[in-house]
């Protein structure tokens, strides 16, 4: 290549080392460089700007797109308006006009680093925030989840194959929540038997609207970590539900819209661990509900749906002005 042609094709933008680097050093390195370059122990936002590789890598996407300042995060953040909370550097004035122009022109001309190799070293992680007080309900679930490894994809698939979608109750653990929305009509007592290998780690089980019957009670005895059981609008009548008395973590039992009646009330009265018991639209007499309230003083029993009357016509609503 002739010298003249080389000059014509060479990048015309500012030199990285002589013009761009000093701007980055002055305004960015305090937070976005390794300690040897004056940065913190952990770079902010996992972004380091003290080597070509780190700048290219960015914080999960390129920080600089050669030739395209408007698509480069580095340019976007330094060029935001003075009052924009995302503008870099934060809590300091916006970069001077000529510094901004230097960065823009350098990216536009191809973001050539020249012979600069910068610093080695890996971008670290930001410090996690200190935890706040964890609500009791979550603490209880975390204790239950202790020692339960997350499901494998194969196990999740196995549950899906019998109609259940599964998710962790406590993120990152194997304490499980199972639902079958959209598959209710395929879930019956046999499907519940298929859950047997997972029974001890299921905390939330939604069977509302499914085809299960009183045949499931013996099976449910295996669900030793069960916290929330939803059987609304199923065929269960409550014959045999006393096995739930052995489930010491059971807090929520939803039986609304079932045929659970007065005969089952005595068994329900033994479920002293319950926080909430849902019995709306069940054939239970008022006396049975009253008796239940006495036996379960710590349980919220919901057995009715009280709706507000229809709204009065608009002309009756006017304030006395």
């Amino acid at each position: 290549m002739s010298p003249l042609l080389f000059l014509l094709l060479a990048p015309q933008g500012p030199s990285f080392e002589q013009e761009v680097l000093p701007v980055l050093q002055e305004h960015c390195f305090r937070c976005h460089a390794s300690p040897e370059n004056g940065g913190p122990a952990q770079p902010k936002g996992r972004l380091r700007l003290d080597s070509p590789e780190q700048i290219r890598r960015g914080a999960g996407g390129e920080a600089v797109v050669a030739g395209y300042p408007e698509e480069s995060v580095l340019w976007e953040l330094v060029s935001l308006a003075e009052e924009d909370p995302d503008r870099m550097p934060p809590d300091r004035p916006r970069l001077a006009g000529e510094d901004l122009e230097t960065i823009r022109a350098w990216i536009e001309a191809g973001a050539d680093f020249g012979g600069w190799t910068g610093s080695r070293g890996e971008a670290g992680e930001e410090e996690p925030r200190p935890p706040a007080r964890t609500p009791d309900r979550i603490q209880e679930l975390q204790a239950l989840a202790e020692g339960l490894p997350p499901l494998t994809e194969a196990q999740a698939e196995k549950l899906r194959s019998v109609g259940f979608l599964v998710s962790p109750v406590v993120p990152g653990t194997g304490l499980l929540r199972l639902t079958c929305y959209g598959r209710e009509k395929t879930v019956n007592d046999d499907a519940l038997r298929a859950l047997r290998p997972f029974a001890p780690q299921i905390a939330v089980l939604h069977l509302g609207g499914t085809r299960v019957t009183d045949g499931i009670w013996p099976e449910l005895a295996r669900f030793e970590r069960l916290v929330h059981l939803d059987l609304h609008q199923t065929q269960v009548q409550g014959e045999g539900l006393q096995v739930l008395q052995g489930l010491s973590h059971l807090r929520v039992l939803n039986l609304y819209g079932t045929q659970v009646g007065d005969l089952a009330a005595a068994s329900l009265g033994g479920l002293t661990s319950l926080r909430s018991l849902y019995l709306w639209d069940c054939p239970l007499k008022e006396e049975s509900i009253e008796a239940l309230r006495k036996r379960l003083p710590g349980t919220r029993i919901i057995h009715s749906l009280e709706l507000p009357g229809p709204a009065p016509p608009a002309e009756d609503r006017r304030s006395g002005r």
Partner: protein, 428 residues
């Protein structure tokens, strides 16, 4: 050079987004996400709630006349305070039915925002980030869909009823996380069923024809995206036949319950939200406008509040009777409050410094007020809650990873609630 992806744009037709989401669910993508690398032991999120019904009061609901009354204050005007089922918590007299259900809710009286204009405020409320020309941020429902997916493989996880610009949106996330928009809740899902002149065998024949054409196209251009588009149509047909479409049909509801929600679109939208959550939809936003009461504030509230009162009180009662409040977080939110000072038009103007929101269910403690304003409703005295904090609280309740960074197309890192921190004292 264009780096935008035509299949992942936020302004794509939203039906496609919906069907794409359905495809994702059926293909098991959401199942994978549950156990993906994002869920680590470092996650600090709670997970007291599974679903959200988000009631957005568009225009800026007057805190002084609804959830933060100041009896005796000169700034109170024609609003009286009434007692509620929450001991010591008073609210405005136009919400008598809600008053009976405050034992299930916490009123937050120390909300504050930095945005005093409607679009900016609405955007900030929904995304936790400031409105800017350079990027579109996702709203909470899109983050939820992104991190956890849906609970019903044939329904979208994220639905918006009566939405408008800058309410629920996918932002820079893939368009399949965008909400399915419903305009009129009483009309259900438009065009989800074939016209009557097209019978099932015609649908099947057309589908075969389409499959044949797609097959040819696929052979010539084997691409994951082309395949995904073809699968999307299969899922659309699946959905047309799905029994879960019944979730959208308010005609299946008991007449007494339909009436109780109120005849306005908002009330029926709340009823639809309940039906959707019952069927495994996870995030439903319902919008009620008309709160921008610069002129004749009290007359306007005489008309607006009963719609909210009727719908929200019925929703809370209905969810409670069905046991759905256990895992469903009900959010009542607005972009800012209104001035304590009553202007010369007998109205109230925008007031970002202090306002009120309400949370119920999903693990939230009941019967409480959190935070407080001074005796005129002007300044926050105690426990301020910023918009990012509010969003972080909802995200925490859902068990979303607050620290996990997701990158925009331009490679910038964002988290579900920005710099917000969850207010864990709100939980039982």
């Amino acid at each position: 050079m264009s780096r935008s992806d035509p299949f992942h744009r936020a302004d794509e037709p939203t039906r496609r987004a919906f069907l794409g989401q359905a495809a994702a669910g059926l293909l098991g993508v959401s199942g994978l996400a549950i156990f993906g690398p994002g869920v680590t032991a470092r996650t600090t999120s709670g997970g007291t709630a599974r679903n959200v019904i988000y009631l957005y009061m568009a225009g800026g609901m007057s805190h002084l006349d609804t959830l933060d009354v100041k009896p005796g204050a000169e700034t109170q005007g024609a609003t009286e305070a009434i007692p509620t089922q929450a001991e010591g918590v008073l609210i405005g007299h136009r919400l008598p039915n809600l008053a009976r259900h405050l034992d299930k809710a916490t009123v937050i009286r120390s909300m504050q925002t930095t945005q005093g204009a409607h679009e900016q405020g609405r955007y900030y409320l929904h995304t936790g980030y400031l409105l800017r020309g350079t990027i579109q941020h996702p709203s909470l429902g899109a983050w939820l869909a992104r991190f956890q997916g849906g609970d019903n493989p044939s329904l979208p996880p994220h639905v918006e009823i009566g939405g408008t610009r800058y309410t629920a949106q996918a932002g820079f996330l893939a368009s399949r996380f965008a909400p399915l928009p419903i305009g009129d809740p009483t009309r259900g899902l438009q065009s989800a069923r074939p016209p009557e002149s097209v019978d099932a065998s015609t649908v099947a024949r057309r589908q075969e024809l389409l499959a044949a054409m797609n097959q040819e196209f696929l052979e010539r251009r084997p691409s994951r995206r082309v395949r995904a588009a073809a699968e999307m149509y299969d899922q659309a047909v699946e959905l047309m036949r799905s029994e879960d479409l019944a979730a959208f049909d308010l005609g299946l509801e008991d007449e007494r319950i339909r009436e109780a929600y109120g005849s306005e679109a908002f009330g029926q939208g709340c009823l639809l939200a309940r039906r959707l959550v019952e069927h495994g939809v996870r995030f439903v936003e319902v919008v009620l406008g008309g709160w921008d009461t610069h002129v004749e504030n009290f007359e306007a509230l005489d008309e607006r509040c009963p719609i909210l009162d009727q719908a929200l009180s019925t929703l809370l009662a209905d969810l409670d009777a069905r046991g759905l409040l256990e895992e469903t977080l009900v959010v009542l939110a607005t972009e800012f409050g209104r001035t304590p000072r009553i202007n010369q038009n007998n109205g109230r103007d925008h007031y970002p410094q202090a306002f009120s929101c309400l949370l119920a269910g999903g693990g939230i403690a009941g019967g409480r007020a959190y935070g407080a304003t001074d005796p005129t409703g002007s300044e926050i005295l105690d426990s301020p809650v910023s918009i990012p904090d509010f969003n972080a609280t909802i995200a925490w309740a859902l068990g979303l990873p607050l620290e996990e960074q997701v990158f925009s197309e331009s490679g910038r890192p964002f988290t579900v609630a920005g710099k917000g921190r969850p207010v864990l004292d709100l939980f039982a």
